[in-house]
Amino acid sequence: MSYISLSQKDKKEMLKVIGASSPQELFDSIPDDKKLKRKLKIPKAKTEPEIMEYFNQKAHKNKNNEYISFQGAGAYQHFIPAAVDYLSSRGEFVSPYTPYQAEVSQGTLQLIFEFQTLICQLSGMEISNASLYDGASGTAEAVLMASRINRKSKILVPKTLHPHYREVIKTYTKNLGLDIQEIKYDDSGQISMTELKKHLDKETSAVLCQSPNYFGVIENLDKISSLAHESKALSIAVVTEASSLGLLKPPGEQGADIVTGEAQSFGIPLSFGGPYLGFMACQKEFLRQFPGRISGETKDVNGNQGFVLTLSTREQHIRRERATSNICTNQALCALRATIFLELLGKNGLRQWSWQNLQKANYAYDLLKGIKGVKSPFSGKVYNEFIIQTEKDWADIEKGLMKKKIIPGISLEKYYPELKKCGLVCVTEVSQKQDLDRFAEQFKEILSA
């Protein structure tokens, strides 16, 4: 199948206007010795029914539909209302470019403005951008931003921050002379305050804090922010499970200067890891160092309200190498999904949602902890994820449960070798009590086998 809209007649007429005898002639500016003299070796063209079958077969090689899953760790399974899919798949949202021409892009610009407002409301901040790639790179951008703001280079990264986020920070900062120091956690599964105080000093640019953290434990962000501020460091709050924002005190009210993270939970399917939705918000004073697109309100010549991309002097297409970020294309369509999702849920739905995540996860946590041979290594309060430690290797537990068509969560051994036989379990509103009960039962069975 090709997607050309010219007839042979059209082509002939156009070539005549151009004064060329063939389209090939139009490539004469490419030296002949640089041209490919053979056909590309890729499979011959498929028609639409063949494409459909091809991908159905690929999907069929995945077996995820056969399992119920308790995996989280930065990617969360939540219900997505039908209206989100319908509205976000409209061609008028899917097929335009970044809204450079404001007058024909008011749909996108207004929805970004609404998205920014929602993010501000949720995070307790004054400024939000239109989106960043994902939570991990967003966190790296926040680190860069902090060091631009206070021109300091020491960054304190807790070990309770998602390991992938820590890796991305390292990748991003490696060449910029930043000094990344990791902060240990304590028995509660929270950032160790003793450790933090040990590392925190006047050289510190920023302290990061993910809450709920990678272990599902809710951090004392308020305290961490205060400590950071005492050392004139910035407090960067990271949120990987955005549904928690409906319940927990917003980072902006806990002293955070920058809030960033992953908003995949807001109506974006798991999608094997992407596209997701990085977000970032900050206090007003940091606006000039803020990365990414921003939609702002203005007026047209008739005095009517309208929206434009604004403050672009921060951006690469104006400021080039001195831009606040190199980001250009971001995640607009994912931001649309989040906006629709949040506006549908509304104030009450959002609260109900977070509440159910909290309740169901803690129900499962209690059930599992009640099994002989299972304990919880951490005492901290959890939101919708938690760590359990067992007497068997997690790999064996996983193997056993997968036979029962249950995916029990994620092993901690790779990133936390010190946490032996531990798994990270996530429970959201999509799990029904009967699933949780069955999960616990099977878990018990495997442990006692």
């Binding site: 997701y276 604004t310 690469q316």
Partner: protein, 482 residues
Amino acid sequence: MNMIRERLIFEISDKGKKGFTFPELDVPEKKNLTDSIPVREDIKDFPQVSEVEVVRHFTRLSQANYCIDKGIYPLGSCTMKYNPKINEKVAQIENFISAHPCLDTKVCQGNLEILSELEDMLIEITGMKAFTFQPAAGAQGELVGMMLIRACLEDRGDPRKFVLIPDSAHGTNPSSAHICGYKVKEIKSNKSGTVDLEDLRKNMNKDVAAVMITNPNTLGIFENQIKEAAEIVHSQGGLVYMDGANMNALMGICRPGDMGVDVIHLNLHKTFSTPHGGGGPGSGPVGVQKGLEPYLPIPRIKHKGSHFSLDENYPKTIGRVHGFYGHFLVVVKALAYILSLGPDGLKEASETAVLNSNYIRKSLEKEYHLKYKAPTLHECVFSDKYQKKHNISNIDIAKRLIDLKVHPPTMSFPLIVHGALMTEPTETESKADLDLFIDAMKQIDREAKEDPDVLKSAPHESYVRRLDETKAARAPRLRWKP
């Protein structure tokens, strides 16, 4: 039809209205769970609206957008080609969208196979040796590319200090080099609009890590001396990065990997038809020659026979740049596109893109100034020089095009053309739509002479009239407040 301005959702919100409800909690509720954790107050002014209000809101907002699905969108450098509907459909298959990224690889063989197959195809199309899909868009691809070059040079002993970038380059190029810790030096374009080899030679030395070249460049001109340029850079131990955003001109015609390019990024959301979404998500895979492969981000996909796995065992890797594997669903769409077109279709796409662009160029070259006369491929950059005599700028032209129902060209760059109108129709346009654009541009040229006011006050027939960008930046209102 004069539209009624769509209100912000916050303005139609009222207490108690609901757009969605969750099932009742089916586990015993424990109120004390929040006892010692910081719980938020009610979110003031968070929306409360019904489902029908949300559906109307976004239906009406959607109609305030111009889009490819409505008409020609010749935004230069953006390759606004049609996004086939079948690609959207396959990307919605349940086992793709509900796959968790941490699935045991046994359970997601189909996904890994897809990533691996697209890698193979991009390798063949570009002549490179390996690809990573972690970069979420072109700019992140550039950054990864720069990081790879830096890691490689560091491995050889010295990361070096400078990156050379032609003055015609896209803004992300210098910005990406900068974030990778390099200083940027600008290289001049020569009279024919390509990299000035003399200037390159002058600036190339052992302190220079790489040159970033766009090919065809942002003027739509093929850098026909790219091999020579590469030799200059290589001879001093530097590497050649190619911004592959314009790959739509070259599919099946020639391959960057055959022309001395060491690292390239592609924009799946340009060349390979995945939708732009009003500003993303895109996907900016990066391809490398063999020598740079060890530095690619992890995890990488490997296969033994027909079994696929994720491999993190690359000690020299630059690390991760994305939380997981990049934009998997975008990869699905790009693969569907390449499989649909096949080798002949890809070549035909490039040929037709170039045909369409040259048809526009030829049809408008009397009316609009073309600074560079060299032959162009998929796009060409007019300027407002002739219209400036009547005090009409490229912005006025753009806004008037809106009245005439076509999307304006790109104006923000290349910086070497003053008052640029960078025009890229792509291959999917019909002659009728090309003519619509051409006729509109001709009409505007006439209006510039005969009725310039109609241009200065354009657009007249849009959802909003011309918007005040200065006001927006001077007194920023970046969120709604009651």
